[in-house]
């Protein structure tokens, strides 16, 4: 089953720079995909299009077989509940504890309290931070903060997890820990798309690699490496 499908998608920003040029790509359910390429190659644009933070200029995007291009604005939140997102800068709320940050994701989509009480410790355990749930982001290391943000992205079990340079601010050892968590989430059946330019991570994982350059796909390998 195709989880994500791009059909001839182009994105041209207002200043006439083409971020994506006629991209066609499909990602199967449960796949783990690296999107590699230099800065400005269109990796982030790809992710922003999926969560409809920006609109495509042309082409169509399907998620689980549904065209999301003419989705009404009021339906976008529903879409985002099915896509977990992890970013390089974590985007944690500084005044909330680890537990509260994760719980927030459930609270704002109106999940009942008992569910929050069960789900949050579970997912914190999954990322290995069940003993730090009372800590605030500033009391945690970068790797721990990123694990909290993964927990938040995954707490309502979305079928898709997008990660935009999740290891961009982390050292190699910590990055390895993050990759283990993402692999674990992928093993449960979640489709994971990770944009990165971390060579060693891509090379060690041996997953599907799609390479972008100036908005075009120049390589798509089943068990690829970062490149030459």
């Amino acid at each position: 089953m195709k989880m994500i499908e791009f059909k001839n998608v182009s994105k041209i920003y207002e200043n006439d720079t083409a971020a994506l040029k006629n991209i066609s790509l499909s990602i199967e359910k449960g796949e783990f995909l690296f999107m590699v390429g230099p800065s400005g190659s269109g990796k982030s644009t790809f992710i922003k299009l999926l969560i409809k933070e920006i609109e495509e200029t042309s082409g169509s995007i399907f998620i689980a077989g549904r065209n999301i291009c003419n989705l009404k604005n009021s339906r976008i939140p529903q879409l985002r509940r099915n896509i977990g997102c992890v970013f390089q800068d974590f985007k944690l709320l500084p005044n909330k504890t680890a537990f509260e940050n994760v719980a927030f994701a459930l609270e704002v989509i109106g999940r009942p309290g008992y569910e929050v009480k069960v789900q949050v410790p579970q997912v914190l355990k999954l990322v290995g931070l069940h003993n730090r749930e009372r800590s605030y982001p500033h009391q945690l290391s970068g790797g721990e903060q990123q694990r909290i943000s993964i927990a938040r992205a995954f707490v309502n079990r979305p079928p898709i997890l997008l990660a935009d340079e999740p290891t961009g601010n982390l050292d190699p050892a910590t990055s390895e820990g993050i990759m283990k968590i993402l692999s674990r989430i992928n093993l449960i059946g979640t489709t994971v798309v990770m944009a990165t330019h971390d060579r060693s991570i891509v090379n060690s994982m041996r997953r599907r690699v799609v390479e972008l350059e100036e908005g075009e796909i120049i390589r798509d390998q089943k068990r690829g490496v970062y490149g030459d």
């Binding site: 604005n73 529903q78 879409l79 985007k91 719980a103 609270e107 989509i109 008992y114």
Partner: protein, 302 residues
């Protein structure tokens, strides 16, 4: 069990963190609306004084001593038939003399007066004081002479003309001040609330990221905007109440005692001050909620 506690702590934490922004917004609303309210009272009172002075403009039509009863009756009927006429009072020669004596009691002028040189007159007040010149002209023929039976028509010609131009200017200035103040208030409140939302944009970003519905994101901010506007305007009403209770009302008392002005914001029968209070409260709440809604459009698409 869990949720109420969560929301309680959530509200508490949010208030603590955003205290400075909320405080700024509330004081901005309080001060600006207080000034607006103060000027509303002032402008209303000035307008009341002006109207009262304008209402005092009247026309005295002096009759010839030898006027026939028929002609007098004819003139009276004529005056009564005009729609501009508010009221008409006849002052006979005797009454005029009596009034004159009262006004000049103890003066030498009374001793030197022989007989009764004072004419009888009609005193006319007008529904629309600005028509006074038009009415006065009706007592003249084409050549500018008074018609038969009329000796003189007096209404303080130059004084009235000047009064009307001054009242027009004061009215316009008062209105202008209120409009400018209101605009300044709207801009100030809008900017303050926009800043307080800007300060929390990260929270909005995260909410949207995890799929909070647009209304879920918007609601707390709209509520907060309304609360800040309403709370601020409540403070300004309290301030205005004390100001009017202890200061403005004294000024109005002086105006009533010296000028017999009836229509004032606080002492007047219309209870205008209540409407000003209510207007400020409604304006505060509305401005808060509308400012929030507009400021949110940047972060939350509909």
């Amino acid at each position: 069990m869990f949720r109420p506690r969560y929301y309680f702590s959530e509200t508490f934490v949010s208030f603590k963190r955003n205290f400075l922004m909320a405080f700024t917004a509330i004081t901005t609303v309080a001060i600006t609306l207080f000034i607006v309210g103060f000027f509303a009272v002032l402008v209303y009172d000035i307008q009341g004084i002006i109207n009262s002075i304008r209402g005092q403009v009247e026309l005295a039509v002096y009759l010839e001593d030898n006027i026939t009863a028929e002609l007098k009756q004819y003139i009276e009927d004529e005056i009564l038939s005009w729609e501009e006429t508010g009221s008409i009072a006849y002052v006979s020669k005797e009454q005029a003399l009596e009034q004159f004596k009262q006004q000049n009691e103890g003066s030498d002028i009374l001793k030197e007066m022989q007989g009764n040189p004072l004419p009888a007159s009609y005193e006319i007040t007008l529904n629309d004081p600005e028509k006074v010149e038009l009415v006065a002209l009706r007592f003249m023929d084409k050549d500018g002479n008074y018609i038969e039976g009329i000796n003189d028509v007096v209404y303080g010609q130059t004084y009235v003309r000047r009064l009307f131009s001054i009242t027009a200017i004061i009215g316009t200035i008062g209105l202008l001040i209120i409009v400018v103040l209101l605009l300044a208030t709207i801009v100030l409140i809008f900017n303050t609330i926009r800043l307080s939302i800007y300060a929390r944009r990260k929270e909005i970003e995260v909410m949207k990221l995890v799929g909070a519905s647009n209304w879920f994101v918007r609601m707390p901010f709209l509520f907060e905007g309304f609360f800040e506007g309403f709370f601020g305007s409540t403070i300004s009403v309290v301030l205005l109440y004390f100001l009017s209770r202890f200061l403005l009302i004294r000024g109005e008392r002086v105006i009533v005692d010296t000028m017999r002005v009836k229509d004032l914001a606080i002492l007047g029968s219309g209870n205008i001050i209540i409407y000003i209070y209510a207007g400020i409260l409604v304006l505060g709440g509305l401005l808060g909620i509308i400012s929030s809604a507009i400021a949110l459009r940047r972060y939350v698409k509909t």
